[in-house]
Symmetry: D2
Subunit: 230 residues, 4 copies
C-alpha cells in the first residue's frame, strides 16, 4: 500500500522457500529451561504437569495448523506459506509460546509467571527421504532416553542419596548406561525399565487420519498425545 | 549427547547465518489481527491500550536481548547466535509473544484471552548500507501513515457518518490522501494533522547509549518508547 | 597461509552446500548460441558434427568427474566438494567449456574460432525423489522434441519453401504439433517420425556399471553416448 | 515452451540472488595447477608467459561482461542476471576458461594441449562495505606475496642450490619472511625487493572510466593490466 520511494527496501528480503517434496521438521527448544525449571519449582527429574503442559501447547499448535501431520512436521506436499522457512518456524514458535503461556495457570496453578517468561526458539530442517524422517524421530527419542537415564540417576543420587549436585555429577562422569542402571537398582531399588514410558521416550503427537466414512467432523481430530515407539 | 547411528540426521540442518557487516532487521507481524481486534473489542481506528501493550512487549524484548539497538534491529557488528536467521527471528517472536500474553491483563483487563490467542510471525532482512536501514524505517513510517489515514477516514464514515462498512470502503476507493483529509475536515471537523503522533507515525524503541560517565547501571537503559520522526 | 589482518574477509563466504540425500542435477546451457551457430555456419536445424562435439565434451566431463552418474547428475550419496553448489557447477561448466574448445577443431575443422568464443552457464538443482529426477529428464526430452519439431518445420519452410525467416515465423505462429507434422508431410514430403532419434529426443550420457567380474579397468568405462528414451 | 506435465520440476530450482547493495566478488581458482604447470613445463617459480595468458583471459572476460569493474568484481548496483550467483559465477568461469584455451597457443606456442586441460572453479562472495572490498583485495595481495616469497626461495634452493625438493621444503619449514629474504640474499645474491612487482603483488585489472568528453568509443576501454598496490 505504501507506494513510496522507500519501498525498494522490500527487495532486500531474500526468499527462504524450503525445497519441495521434502519433509519439513520444525524443532522447538526451550530457552534457558534449566534456570526456568528451578525458578518455578518443577519436580526433578520429570514434572508430569510440565510435560502435560508441553503436550497441551503442542496440541494447540496442531489444531491451529492443519498442515502439520506430526508435532511438528509438515508433509512433503505441504505448500503452506509457500514453504517459507521463516513464516513456518515463527508461526509455530509463536503459537506454541502463546499456548504455553495460556495453559500455564491450568497446569501449574501455584506458580505465578514473572520475568523471565518461558520462551522458545525453533529451526526448520528438510528431510528428503521417509527413512531420514524416521531416523530423525529415532534420534530425538534416543536423545530423550539418554538424558532421562542421566537425570533419573543424578536426581536419585541427590534427592535420595543426599549427595551435593557437583558430587553427583562427578560420580556419573564417564559412566555408561549399564552403570547408571546398576546405580539406580543397587542403591535405590529403582528398575529403570519400569519408569513411565513418557519419561523414557518422550511423547509424539500425530494427526490420526480416520477413514472418511467414519470421520464425522470436517477437520480431522487429533489423536490423544501418547508416547509412541518408532 | 545422543551418540547414536541416527545422529547423522543433524547434517541435514543447513546453515542460515546472515551476511556479516549488515544491519539485521527482524520484522514482526500480528497474525490475523483484524479478526482478533474485533473479537477483543479494540477501539477503532486506534486503541491506545493495545498500542501501549505492543510497546511494552517490544520493550521487554529489548531488555532480554541487549544486542538489539532498535526494536528490532541488530547492529552490523552483532554476532549473537552466530547471526543465524532462525535463532534470531524465533527468539524475538517467542519473547514478544510471551510478553504480549503476559502484559495483556494489565493493559486490557476486561478482555479475557481465549482461542485464538494473539500470535505473531517474523522474518529477518539484511541491510548493507546505513541509508538502506533509514529507508526501511521510513518505509514502515509511510506505511503507518497511509494505513492510519485510511483507517481514520473509514471509521469516521462508519462511526460518525453512520455508513455501512462496505459503503465506506466503496466511498474511499480511488481516493488519494488529500481527498481523505478533505472528507475528515469537511464532514467530521477532524484536522488529521492534529491526530496524535503515535497514531500517524507509529512508535520506535531505541537503545539510548548514554555517556559512560553518566550511565550508572551496567546495562544501558532503554529509552522510553516515543514516536520519532526519521 | 596468508595469516594477516585482512583474512577476516573469508568469513563473508556463505556456505552453499546442497541438501543431502537429493539428486543434484547441473544443467548447462550455451550462451548466445543462436548467434554463434550462425557465425560458425552450423547446419540448420541440426548439425550432427556440433551434436557430436557436445557429446564428446560431455563425455570428457564424465571422465574427469567420476561422481557423475548421468550427464550431469550427481548421485544422492555424492559428497564431492561437500556438495557445494558453486564448486560443483563451476567445475562442470569449466571442464565442459575446456573440452568443447579442445575438440572443436576435430569436429568442425573448417571453422576457425574467434571472438565470441563458445561459452556456457550452469545451475544446480536438487531433486529429492527418484520420480522427480525421471520427470526432470522427461521435461528436457519433451523440450527437445518441441523445439526440434518447430525448428525442422521452420527451416523446411525457409530452405525448401523459399520463405523469408520472418514469414516462416508468422506461418508457424499458433500452430500445434499436428499442424507442423502436416506441413512437413504435405508440403515437403517429410515424415517427422523418421527423423533421427538424436534430433527428436536429444542424447543422454550415463555411466554403465558393468559387473565387476567383467570390468577389467579400475575406473568404470562410460557407455557410448546414445539417445535413450526415458 | 515445453508446456508438459513434467514442467513442474522447474519449481525445484531455488533462487540464489545475491543481496542487493553489496560488492560481488567472483574468485576464480585454477584446478590442479601444480600438476598442470609441471606437465606443460612452466618456468618456476613464475612463468611470465603464463601470467600474461592469465591476464589476457581476464581481460577478455572484462570485455565480454561490462558490468565488471575489477577482475572479477561486480558493482554494488549491478543487476546483471538479477544477481543470481550461479549465472554470474558460471558465466565468468566459462568465459575465462574459453579465453584461456583460446589464447594458450599464442602465449605458450610450444606446449600442445591435451588431457588434463586447464580448468577453473569459482565462487561468489558479497562484501557490504567498501572497506571490506579493499581488505579482500589486500588479502589476495598478501597471499600472493607470501606464496611468491616462499616459491622464490624454494626454487632458488632447488635450481641454484641443487637441493632435492623435499630437502628444500624441510629447509624452509618454520622460517619467517626475514629468514627467506636472508637465504635469498646471502646464498643466492637475490634482493627480493628487486623482484618484478607482478611477481610480488600479482596483477589487478580494472575498468578505467575516462570522462565521457574524452572517451571516444561507446564501450569504456579496459586499462592495460598492470600491478597496482592497494
Amino acid at each position: 500500500m505504501a507506494n513510496s520511494k522507500f519501498e525498494y527496501v522490500r527487495a532486500f528480503e531474500q526468499p527462504d522457500n524450503l525445497l519441495a517434496n521434502t519433509w519439513i521438521v520444525v524443532r522447538v527448544d526451550g530457552r534457558g529451561f534449566s534456570k526456568l525449571t528451578t525458578k518455578y519449582h518443577f519436580t526433578k527429574p520429570n514434572d508430569k504437569r510440565a510435560l502435560d503442559l508441553m503436550n497441551a501447547a503442542a496440541r494447540r499448535v496442531m489444531s491451529e495448523l492443519p498442515d502439520l501431520v506430526i508435532a511438528f512436521v509438515f508433509h512433503k506436499d505441504c505448500t503452506l506459506f509457500e514453504r517459507r522457512a521463516s513464516k513456518l518456524t515463527t508461526t509455530i514458535v509463536s503459537t506454541f509460546t502463546a499456548a504455553y503461556m495460556h495453559y500455564w495457570p491450568e497446569y501449574l496453578p501455584d506458580e505465578k509467571l514473572s520475568s523471565p517468561l518461558p520462551t522458545f526458539d525453533g529451526r526448520a530442517v528438510c528431510y528428503p527421504g521417509d527413512e531420514n524422517l524416521r531416523h530423525y524421530m529415532s534420534w530425538r527419542q534416543v536423545d530423550c532416553h539418554i538424558n532421562n537415564l542421566y537425570n533419573t540417576t543424578f536426581w536419585a543420587l541427590v534427592q535420595q542419596g543426599g549427595m551435593e549436585p557437583r558430587a553427583a555429577e562427578q560420580a556419573l562422569a564417564g559412566t555408561v548406561s549399564s552403570d547408571k542402571n546398576e546405580i539406580l537398582f543397587s542403591r535405590f531399588g529403582i528398575n529403570y525399565n519400569n519408569e513411565p514410558e513418557i519419561f523414557k521416550k518422550g511423547s509424539v503427537l500425530y494427526r490420526d487420519y480416520a477413514p472418511s466414512s467414519i470421520q464425522s467432523s470436517p477437520t480431522p481430530e487429533l489423536a490423544h498425545p501418547k508416547p509412541r515407539q518408532i
